[in-house]
Amino acid sequence: MDGIHDLGGRQGFGTIRYAVGAPAFHADWEKRVNALYGMAVRRGIFNMDEYRHAIERMPARQYLSASYYERSLTSLLTLCVEKGIVTREELEHLAQGIVPLSEPSAPGRTNLPDPETFQPGDLVRVKNDFFAGHVRMPGYIRGKPGVVVSESPRYPFPDAHAHGVEAVDEPTYDVAFRTEDLWPNSADSALVHVGVFQSYLERAL
């Protein structure tokens, strides 16, 4: 989905609030959220792709204003309701207030047809593909040319795995893109390497 989570290359953001040795956690509840969602994954209540997608499904204004662990919590609560672990009413009764949840999911999809196999050095292009469900193709590489650098192990296809759809694991390719191709005349010069699932790629001639 072309959601607000897909931040790479978006303009209008500010100076990084950076400090050497900055902490991962700022409050005790953040540690508990981190453990509780990990526990749910460990117990098979949901998988990491479902977890990531439920974060992406937060209404955009909530996503932007929530902290990292609040987004994590919203995903955990949404999935526990969707999976029938608890009802929203029970959560709101226990929490003594409104419990914001993510928007419903669009359907998933299985692997795309006619997958091609690539070798290091191959010129590829990211398909001009739009999909309302979970996808791990950042918008900034859509339709863009790149060069295959290497192949990674096979992973569950996120577009299926986040939605309970059957699919085979896919290779991902480390593809190098030039910022000159991604944002012509509007970026610092660099190579951007992205792990791209086979289904998202086609050969560039």
Partner: protein, 197 residues
């Protein structure tokens, strides 16, 4: 419950966390010991010193360095370091005098957290995620790393479950130091790639 009895205010975040913890407790999932174990791991086991050991070893042991670049996950296992099952691959990125690597996750905030430690707050902020792929040199300069123009930048966006760590250039004045002493100079920031040593 009908709509009239629904609450009108958003529950404080601590209440929402306590609610799901109570649900897990009621379902017999025993969340408390799990939280303790997980928090201990996050604070005591998944520490940047793990990655620092990998870097120091790569600086001092050429054969290990080659194994690390060939198969990172197997190589760190030699040091007793493990990664979650869904992290199927670890790629070590070699900084040189002419190449600088930096990692990000633009879509969420993925990292090799068991090796380099849980990501710091700024890594998970929207500003870093949005900007570093497009304005890498500018962002690094803002963060205190002013790279000379002859150093080429490579940004690694963690979109699949392959994980990355940066192997910084060894400072020349530390050549010949024992591994234990080298471990102490390697920072989390240098393994993310927002600092050089």
């Amino acid at each position: 419950m009908n709509t009239q009895s629904r609450p009108s205010q958003v529950a404080p975040i601590e209440n929402r966390v306590a609610a799901i913890e109570a649900v897990f407790e009621q379902r017999g999932m025993e969340p408390k010991p799990f939280i303790e174990t997980m928090t201990h791991a996050a604070e005591q086991e998944w520490v940047p010193r793990n990655g620092a050991r990998v870097v120091a070893k790569a600086w001092t042991d050429l054969a290990f360095r080659q194994r690390l670049f060939a198969n990172g996950k197997d190589a760190v296992a030699e040091l007793g370091l493990s990664m979650p099952a869904h992290h199927r691959h670890l790629v070590a990125l070699e900084n040189t005098d002419t190449i600088h690597n930096v990692i990000v996750c633009t879509l969420c905030s993925c990292t090799a957290f068991t090796i380099i430690g849980l990501p710091p707050d700024w890594y998970k902020d929207l500003d870093y995620r949005a900007r570093v792929v497009r304005e890498s040199r500018t962002v690094l300069r803002e963060m205190g790393l002013d790279l000379p123009p002859e150093i080429e930048i490579r940004v690694w966006d963690t979109t699949a479950d392959t994980r990355y760590m940066v192997i910084p250039v060894q400072p020349p004045e530390t050549i010949g130091w024992p591994e234990e002493k080298l471990i102490d100079i390697v920072t989390k920031e240098s393994m993310i790639g927002v600092a050089r040593l």
